[in-house]
Symmetry: D2
Subunit: 336 residues, 4 copies
């Protein structure tokens, strides 16, 4: 397969458009040939404006195009596994937004198809490519903190999603904590062995009525002996709160929130600083570019992608265990 | 009883001496009349040097002195409850170092004696009087963060105690985390309802061989609906790590470590700041004075002490539950 | 004149190329038609790679093109004023890199030509568009600090330029401090009335031999009564240091350096943070895009540009006075 | 002379009382025998309360007491030099509050008397003993920043003194900046060679009417080639602002303000931190103890005091030059 990447994007919702624009603005040597969306007519103007050549209603038109060798799957979650299988069978390299699916069997089937086809496959866990978290990862890999002992992730959203979304989201653990499950694997360099969930409905009773939780502390045991905790809230009054701390035998490392500016205002009222960057589009702006850069590089150099199939599968398994722990009020072992 | 406090200290180890010097240096109107220690001869010079009038081998000599109306119990833990009972029966106001005892029945008996005697009783949870934690407490009481949702305490020692001490310490939860159990009650303004312990031996295998743990994440449920987590390590390479974060419906508050100076050095090697203050004597220096000030005020004004008997009892119960959770690998409800 | 901007860039050195790429990646509706450089053959590949249609050796070919209505002057400083005059006479809107010239008469002549032609003119003081400094500017404009009393600018480079460059740079005040002179005008909202320079050669004697200084404290008086100080060094061992502080009747505001990450590593050796972002290309990356955005908007909406001719002229006058103050060892009044 | 320090305090205003209490609370081996104040009757109760044996109206009663070998001169500034001379002639070691005098000849006469008598003499520049500034000093001495190039001191008061005080204070440079002149000598390890003052009346016109200034930037040249700037304001709305920065050939060091707590509150309104500690009594609390400790040690060990006569003289000379520079609008050389 040629190293000249010709790209099709499947799904032109918020994230599909984001990737489209990032590609046009940052990868002049990548040809973004086509985009498919079931509401194709609504995106034609946008697509042409950034120079995408073809707009399809049916993603199969992208899979059929022999020039296109790579696809970005940005459609709704329930279509990810099916499209992954079809794309793999069509020999396309695949970048698939997270989660691959809510159903383990479907994920396994999709990953099998990828393996069989021998195509590149990357899952959209963009936070691994964030400047702060990557730095933590590097410091750990360099041995600066020794063996990891305690891993702490704080992940709080500025606002809960609409209640209609909550109902179909797969639950907070699957929809929101999934990024944190990926993060602890990334930072610990180890697999989660056991999970215990301490969760509550404190933000909005409607979330509880929908069968979900909105506040959680999830403690973890890792294969390498480390322990960890993730804390989540669906609503932090001060905004998007994204921090990690890893503590080890030789020291610890923390990262704090990014802010729009470093301005500190001191008055008779007190000392004031900026709130965190508003939400994930602002906070993780550069990480969305970087994940694609590394995906494209993996294709060009025929190397491993930085977030492989197993990295898409494991967080789903942990999320399921976290939910089970919440329901059964006991620690749950992670299946291998 | 007169408001003129005449004081005896029982036990002249590190903490007894610390209190003695703090009293002499900060409370000129308090008469520190006597100190008792089983190694009386070893402390005579020190005691006279700071103007203590009498040095006894037997603490009962203090209890018998009708001039002395107040005692500080700073002897070894296994004597606390007995001396408390005797001191209460002798009509003395009591400041008792933590923990009151490792045995619930003995604690209850001691508190009953205190109640019956109608004397003031305060437990030495000095961290409540620390400038940082008190500020967090005040901000919460003022409603600045709304209802508490998530309470996080980081408490890590610079070095584990000698293994001989570990063996008689009552275990990490009773010896070290006990302060954190007090802290979460102080900050949450609520009682702990359930505890789950995720602990490990990562610092020193000898600690494990002694039947204890050295690293832990303890998650908590509070009566008011909040959830919490304490993380402990017996050894932080960078020193004494004492931070809290409370997150609520209207916002969050964090406090960071105190440092010897605010100096930040920037060189070609990087940007360097001070490590935290070395250990509890440096870090909590002022809190040891402040707890006495409030104890003395409670006596003078005949008001409630800021850390009462129940505050000495509850952390012991939580520590026991934390240990049980660790042993039985399941969440444990706190007995009422 | 149509609002459809068709652009030519004159000069394809580092800054010309930067602007070219920024335009292609951020302003899809702007047609970047041509670029001119005396070494045209060396830039053809780069120019075609980002889709520039024409590459000329002679900038006059751009001025002659009736389709092109806007030029970016990024050539060497000694050509700025001449090209500005020719471009104005050709009716082109002009974005001119700083400084306009080292010669006041030439600047005045260029600004006269701009005025006569009625074209838009903006000077490339990009730091005004930096997120930190803009925030300080906004807080002052909102009255948060009251009347400005003291304005402090810290501006230190990571490394001095090559000595050959120093010799033709116009001197540190003209080459480096010029940005700070612009900054104090931007932040104070007032004109500089008097300047006193306290400067030295402390970084490299060769700079002194070339007749220049490498370290300076320049104090300023402003028309509105405020006072200010700029401190410069040609070499900060820890990197590019770009901070400001404005203190006023109601309070003060500071901004600190941006860093690659917020990671703080704590070990037995100490507490370590990132050094500042390396140099101006990293530190002011977004400001280069933002200054163009506002320039293009000024053209489209026929409004004032945010950095006008007078803003290009005044810093030159101050730089000259700063030099004179250094030479004559006395405060110098700024000519009107 | 015996190493047993027997102390008399001359002057029982705010600072005299502060020293008295610090001695009683921190130096149990120092005998604070007497205190003298022209309003002796007003301080008797206070003095007896902390165990001072004698209270005199006339300081000469202290000088006459052969048991007393050390005096603290805390009376009004205009008496410092006279009392210093008399105390030296009486063979007493002397700790003298700053400034020694406003008159150079009187200072020189006082220092001559000290020298002739061979007694210890220390000036009360307490900020040298502050944890932050001392750390900066140490880092510089250890060579961490290389040769100092730029020294910056920020020193702003929370409120101007009463206008009646302003009139007799000797002016802002003598009353307030004097500490900063001491600080730059302490940090630079070098003498000031030249000073230029850029000052204004921006806080209160009444200060201007009293012939003084309330806002200033004072730039300095040092013998070792470094340059420096002090910025002062008589009123910082956010409180007492005490920071320094020293920049050198190998890096830089900064210290920021101390705060009552490290609490950071994040809400929908923003991110809030504590204001600086209120004023010098809170901010420099420990430094007042430390300066005495080192003074007493110098007596006990017969070593040099850490702030000698020359250190009391030089800041006065610089303050005079700063005033002259302001009046004559030109840089002023410091006399040797």
């Amino acid at each position: 397969m040629s190293n000249n990447i010709v790209l099709g994007i499947i799904g032109a919702g918020r994230i599909g458009k984001l990737h489209g624009e990032n590609i046009v603005n940052n990868f002049p040597d990548i040809r973004l040939k086509a985009i498919a969306d079931i509401y194709a007519d609504k995106i034609i103007e946008w697509a042409q404006g950034i120079g995408i050549e073809e707009v399809y209603e049916d993603y199969r038109d992208i899979l059929k195009d022999p020039e296109i060798n790579t696809v970005l799957i940005c459609s709704s979650t329930n279509t990810h596994s099916t499209i992954t299988i079809e794309a793999a069978e069509a020999g396309k390299h695949i970048f698939c937004e997270k989660p691959i699916d809510f159903d383990l069997e479907k994920i396994v089937a999709a990953l099998d198809a990828v393996k069989k086809a021998g195509v590149k496959f990357q899952v959209g866990f963009n936070r691994r490519f964030d400047h702060n978290f990557r730095k933590v990862h590097e410091l750990i890999k360099e041995g600066k903190i020794g063996d990891p002992h305690i891993i702490k992730v704080t992940s709080r959203d500025p606002e809960p999603p609409p209640i209609e979304y909550v109902k179909v989201s797969g639950g907070m653990f699957m929809d929101m904590t999934i990024h944190d499950f990926d993060m602890v694997r990334y930072l610990s360099g180890s697999e989660v062995e056991e999970v215990y969930t301490n969760a509550a409905v404190l933000v909005d009773p409607a979330i509880g009525e929908a069968g979900d939780v909105d506040t959680a502390l999830i403690t973890l045991k890792f294969k390498n002996g480390a322990i960890g905790v993730i804390d989540n809230s669906r609503r932090a009054a001060y905004g998007y709160d994204q921090r990690v701390e890893v503590f080890g035998s030789k020291g610890g490392v923390t990262v704090s929130n990014d802010t729009p500016s470093s301005a500190v205002l001191s008055t008779s009222e007190g000392v004031f600083a900026d709130k965190p960057k508003y939400f994930f589009l602002e906070r993780y702006k550069d990480s969305f570019v970087e994940e694609l850069r590394q995906f494209f590089n993996a294709i060009k150099n025929d190397t491993k992608t930085p977030v492989e199939g197993i990295d898409g599968l494991k967080p789903i398994i942990i999320a399921m265990a976290a939910r089970k722990s919440y329901e059964e009020k006991r620690p749950i072992k992670i299946i291998e």
